[in-house]
């Protein structure tokens, strides 16, 4: 059984709190009992090894114990959260899901059978191996979502190394590689996973105060929201020891402000991809965007400024796209980086670079400058086609107080001209009507 070791670990912490969900604490002992009860339910529903089962839910005791029970019987798990509701049918079809088990707000569940066979060659390879699987959908910010099929066995391998037992806020969603990482890190070390009803800054800060949360894994966009809303001032967050941030480039200015707001908290950049898993990482220091990535099972190299990763925990492949691996197993991450010895600094996605008359502009650098401008709450920078310079830098701003566009433009341009090279100064400036981030608190740089 792929998670025998994990269940044994959990046994050792029987009385400790594994999950806090809607204010109720569930012990490891209770969670193990639930896993056992699922066995009977799954037997009765005819869900056996090699079947593809989707879990629709959040970090509830029901959904977490079901995931463990499905892994234990070598099923293929497809976690889906409300954030992808619009694509539900499409995702179920791509993954060839044969049963959907969905959870409601009270953690009650229902099973819906879908009478379809598994035809995909990769999935059949995994079934033949007799291993449990995991299907994760990429965010698809630059087109269609890609479905990554993982063998759960190598993915879980790294969690066998004992690490810190922590109270962790489960911020990243369960259908995201970061969320899966948070869950298994917590469970394999006897920690506590605290879930929140919404990812609103006040709700998150209240949960940190109430449950004495030590680790907050999140995104730069959310940290910016927490700072701008000043939610962090309204709660006692003294239990926090570590904030990790990833999924997008951290603006330098946001990092500086987080550091000022949380002088006693360690700040750690994370790096991972749904195709490869989460690498181990170490920031040079709390205020630094330079980070060392790798760790057991991961190799990295930089070619022409692009980061390549080879991972033992890499997916088998996509279910709906060609393999992104070369013959030697390296994957082009499409992330542009600078290198300094063992450290790298992530500049941005190759596909998001703006080319102004042959000169490269990384959106994150311009956004970082814009977010320091008074009256700016958030900024998104993207490229727009232009026949004169190829592309132009466009910026869409969220304001704190309403402001006339003409006066805003003047302020933006004079502010940027003092801080950026001329070709990086936004040419097109607009005011956003709504928030510019996804349900995963990641910036959406769409024109």
């Amino acid at each position: 059984m792929a998670i025998e070791w994990l269940i044994e670990r959990m046994e050792q912490s029987r009385d400790a709190v594994a999950v806090v969900w809607q204010g109720a604490s569930v012990s490891y002992g209770d969670l193990i009992d639930r896993v056992a009860r699922w066995r009977a339910v799954l037997d009765e529903a005819g869900i056996t090894a090699g079947q593809v089962v989707s879990i629709e839910g959040d970090y509830s005791p029901g959904a977490i114990s079901l995931m463990l029970a499905l892994i234990a019987r070598n099923a293929i798990v497809v976690p889906l959260t409300a954030s992808v509701a619009m694509h539900r049918e499409e995702f179920l079809t791509i993954a060839e899901v044969q049963a959907v088990i969905s959870f409601d707000a009270d953690d009650d569940w229902r099973i819906e059978r879908r009478d379809i066979p598994v035809t995909h060659e990769l999935t059949r390879t995994l079934i033949a191996r007799g291993h449990p699987g995991l299907v994760l959908f990429s965010s698809g910010s630059t087109g269609k979502s890609k479905a990554a099929l993982h063998d759960f066995v190598p993915l879980l391998e790294k969690f066998k190394v004992p690490r810190h037992r922590q109270v962790t806020l489960t911020f990243l969603l369960l259908d995201h590689i970061g969320g899966i990482n948070t869950l298994f890190y917590t469970l394999s070390n006897g920690g506590t996973a605290v879930s929140v009803r919404s990812r609103d800054p006040d709700e998150v800060c209240a949960a940190i105060e109430r449950y004495r949360v030590e680790l907050l894994p999140t995104s730069p966009t959310f940290l910016n929201l927490m700072l701008m809303s000043e939610a962090y001032r309204r709660y006692d967050l003294s239990s926090l020891k570590l904030i990790t941030y990833g999924t997008e480039v951290m603006p330098e200015t946001t990092l500086r402000r987080v550091r000022e707001a949380f002088p006693h908290v360690r700040l750690q950049q994370t790096y991972g991809l749904s195709e490869l898993g989460i690498l181990r990482s170490k920031s040079r220091d709390d205020g630094s965007l330079w980070v060392k990535v790798g760790g057991e099972g991961f190799e990295t190299k930089v070619v022409d400024g692009v980061l390549y990763v080879r991972a033992k925990s890499a997916m088998l492949g996509y279910l709906n796209a060609p393999s992104p691996f070369d013959e030697e197993g390296w994957m082009n991450t499409q992330d542009m980086v600078e290198v300094d010895g063992e450290y790298i600094r992530i500049l941005g996605r190759r596909t998001e670079i703006i080319n102004v008359g042959g000169q490269k502009v990384y959106p994150a650098e311009v956004e970082s400058v814009l977010m320091q401008l008074p009256n700016v709450r958030d900024a998104t920078v993207y490229g727009e086609k232009n026949p004169i310079t190829g592309q132009i830098v466009a910026a869409r701003l969220n304001l704190i107080e309403p402001e006339d566009l003409d006066s805003l433009k003047k302020r933006v341009r004079s502010w940027c001209r003092e801080r950026l090279e001329p070709f990086k100064v936004p040419v097109k400036i607009t005011i956003a009507d709504g928030d510019q981030f996804s349900a995963r608190f990641k910036k959406m740089r769409r024109a």
């Binding site: 102004v356 008359g357 232009n386 026949p387 004169i388 310079t389 132009i392 566009l405 433009k409 003047k410 341009r413 004079s414 001209r417 001329p422 070709f423 100064v425 040419v427 097109k428 607009t430």
Partner: protein
């Protein structure tokens, strides 16, 4: 040009000159004479570089949409391939903008 425009060309010229003045000011460009219809926007005699011109064009697109309620793309392949560049002077740009607005309104 002898075309009669249904919109006031003077308003368009004023919009361009306004935007140009703002850009000069923002870019720290000093000039002895006030911009007028004959002011060059590209070439040796222009005070704007290519980024300045691009910025002027984008600003104008936004202002025209506000003033006349039409969304125009001023810089496109069509504009670039005209025998006489519409971006040469304030006057030629005003003619081009008026023609485009007319065209859009007659569609």
């Amino acid at each position: 040009m002898t075309t009669l425009f249904t919109i006031d060309r003077g308003v368009v010229v004023a919009l361009i000159i306004d935007s140009l003045r703002d850009l000069y000011e923002q870019n720290g460009v000093t000039t002895d004479s006030e911009p007028d219809e004959g002011t060059y926007l590209i070439g040796r005699r222009a005070l704007l570089d290519s980024l300045g011109l691009v910025t002027l064009i984008v600003d104008l697109e936004q202002k025209i949409e506000e003033a006349f309620g039409v969304a125009l793309t001023l810089a496109n392949e069509r504009a670039m391939s005209q025998k006489n560049s519409p971006f040469l002077t304030v006057g030629s740009l005003a003619d081009y903008i008026c023609a485009l607005i007319d065209e859009q309104r007659n569609v």
